[in-house]
């Protein structure tokens, strides 16, 4: 004989369970934020932000790492965005679904699955050694770009596909060319989705350590050119913590990193809201 619960009971149990799981997820997030804030925020002073690390990071600040982080992330985005969005436009607007598009998409998915340490090794062999760029912002930026390219392709493709087909029909029936339709109507409508992809890539880049250890090195000086080596905040945190150099400074770096990510997400969210309002 089947044992069945009254539907109202199963409803209540399911609801409670889902609430509990959500709460647990939030709790974990809050725990991380609070933990890092308590241990790290005391270190965050103006001098911490404006001074370069001294004595291997035991004293001083993290200014050089902030600069390196900005350079590397910017370079990765500048390289990967046109390539990624362009590929997405090509796949959705200029080709029909067939074996060629499937291969390209499969390639991008495989790239997305490569562990970052392997990408770091690849970047080391190709950029640092073979092309002779050495440990540099350039090597790091190029490798990061390869890492985030699949993210941008995938999210841009989804965003472009989500634009209603009727908009394109309207444009063509008004005598607009394909390129005009894409640049004037489709891309602006897809912009919120594309921006999400770019923001996700920024977040990914900020957290990378393995890739950058192999390609950008870990120099403590403030990088002034693309060929200088540099360490990002994430790499700095890793080294400080692993080598036992200074746990307070490590937490300070982590706190700055966390605040940066929160700020970027906030900016991305407001930017998206504004774009959605303007173009739909």
């Amino acid at each position: 004989m089947a044992w069945r619960l009254h539907p109202r009971i199963t409803q209540a149990v399911a609801k409670t369970l889902l609430w509990a799981l959500t709460g647990l997820t939030l709790l974990i997030l809050i725990f991380i934020i609070v933990n890092i804030s308590i241990k790290g925020l005391p270190q965050v002073t103006l001098s911490f932000l404006s001074q370069v690390p001294q004595d291997m990071g035991r004293h001083g600040g993290i200014f050089s790492t902030i600069v390196a982080t900005v350079y590397l992330t910017l370079l990765a985005i500048v390289l990967a965005s046109p390539l990624g969005v362009g590929t997405a436009i090509y796949l959705t607007e200029y080709t029909k679904e067939g074996w060629a598009t499937r291969i390209i998409r499969f390639g991008a998915e495989c790239l997305a699955g490569v562990p970052s340490i392997i990408l770091g090794l690849f970047g080391f062999v190709l950029f640092v050694m073979k092309l002779g760029l050495g440990w540099s912002i350039l090597s790091g930026g190029l490798t990061l770009a390869i890492m985030v390219l699949p993210i941008i392709i995938r999210t841009s493709e989804e965003a472009i596909k989500a634009v209603p087909q009727e908009y394109r029909q309207v444009c063509y029936s008004l005598g607009m060319s394909q390129w005009q339709t894409i640049t004037r109507i489709v891309l602006p409508a897809a912009l919120p989705g594309i921006t999400t992809g770019i923001m996700l890539s920024v977040g990914r880049s900020l957290g990378e350590t393995a890739v950058l250890l192999f390609t950008a090195g870990a120099a403590l000086r403030t990088p002034t050119s693309l060929f200088d080596s540099g360490r990002t905040m994430a790499v700095h945190f890793y080294i400080l913590a692993r080598e036992g150099i200074s746990m307070p400074n490590a937490y300070g770096t982590a706190a700055i990193l966390m605040i940066s990510i929160l700020l970027i997400n906030l900016t991305a969210y407001t930017l998206m809201q504004r774009l959605i309002k303007r173009y739909s």
Partner: protein
């Protein structure tokens, strides 16, 4: 070739996509400045026929056609035909009102600007088109507002104004009032009657009463073939084919 009195002439047009034949040996003429109605049940080929007239059929995957279609003296099915220019001469209004996600003004000016019309003419174009579509009075104070805020009937009149802003010669309408209330429907039919003076209009509808009200001549399309063509009053009172009679009386639909 078209005779002096034809605006559009179809000669034995057959249209396929993949294995499916959507149009079978269609031949008909459309005269300048008339409202020509195309009626028939669903999937009879009416919308496909419309889309051949402005080469929007090119967007259908695996599209093939045989036969000829003349617009004035130009064969619009030939590979030399400038499709972009054709679509500016032959405008299309779809059944679902589809304003672009922009302001009312931008909806009207986007395509003309891209087609090279002068900037100074834009304000004038906006006013003329909206007046011709009988929408001017309702939106003249809020041209900067998003077009998506308009009601369904207003949106459809905006789509008509948008097509008029391209200053076409022919206007194709694919079931333009199918989702609209009777008042909006009446407004649009009234607008078409006014537009007839300057444009050649082809109206596709599943609604026989609308065809009877609003057109000068009618063709009845059934399962990809023309069954009957003639002056609207004649077709509706003394149809020559039994199937036409059955369709009009609602014995099938």
């Amino acid at each position: 070739m078209t005779t002096e009195s034809d605006k559009i002439r179809l000669e034995q047009l057959s249209f396929f996509y993949g294995d499916f034949q959507a149009l079978n040996n269609i031949s008909l003429e459309i005269r300048p400045r008339e409202i020509f109605g195309l009626m028939g049940p669903s999937k009879s080929g009416k919308s496909t026929l419309l889309r051949v007239l402005n080469r929007m059929c090119d967007l259908i995957p695996e599209a093939r056609f045989t036969g000829r279609v003349w617009l004035d003296n130009e064969d619009i099915l030939s590979p030399d035909c400038d499709v972009v220019n054709l679509r500016r001469r032959v405008g299309l209004v779809l059944s679902k009102p589809m304003p672009l996600p922009r302001s009312i003004r931008e909806n009207l000016t986007l395509a003309p600007r891209l087609a090279g019309r002068e900037r100074q003419k834009m304000e004038e174009l906006v006013e003329t088109s909206l007046k011709a579509a009988q929408l001017w009075e309702e939106v003249k104070d809020r041209l900067g507002d998003s077009a998506l805020k308009l009601s369904g009937g207003q949106q459809q009149r905006l789509c008509l104004a948008r097509t008029l802003a391209m200053e076409p010669e022919v206007i194709l309408l694919d079931e333009p009032t199918s989702g609209l209330d009777p008042i909006s429907t009446a407004k649009i039919e009234e607008t078409l009657f006014q537009l007839k003076k300057n444009y050649t209009i082809i109206l596709v509808s599943n609604n026989t009463k609308q065809i009877a009200r609003a057109t000068d001549r009618t063709a009845f399309l059934l399962m990809s073939q023309i069954i009957e063509i003639g002056d609207t009053p004649r077709v509706f009172t003394v149809p020559r084919d039994q199937r036409t009679d059955d369709y009009i009386s609602g014995r099938f639909g």
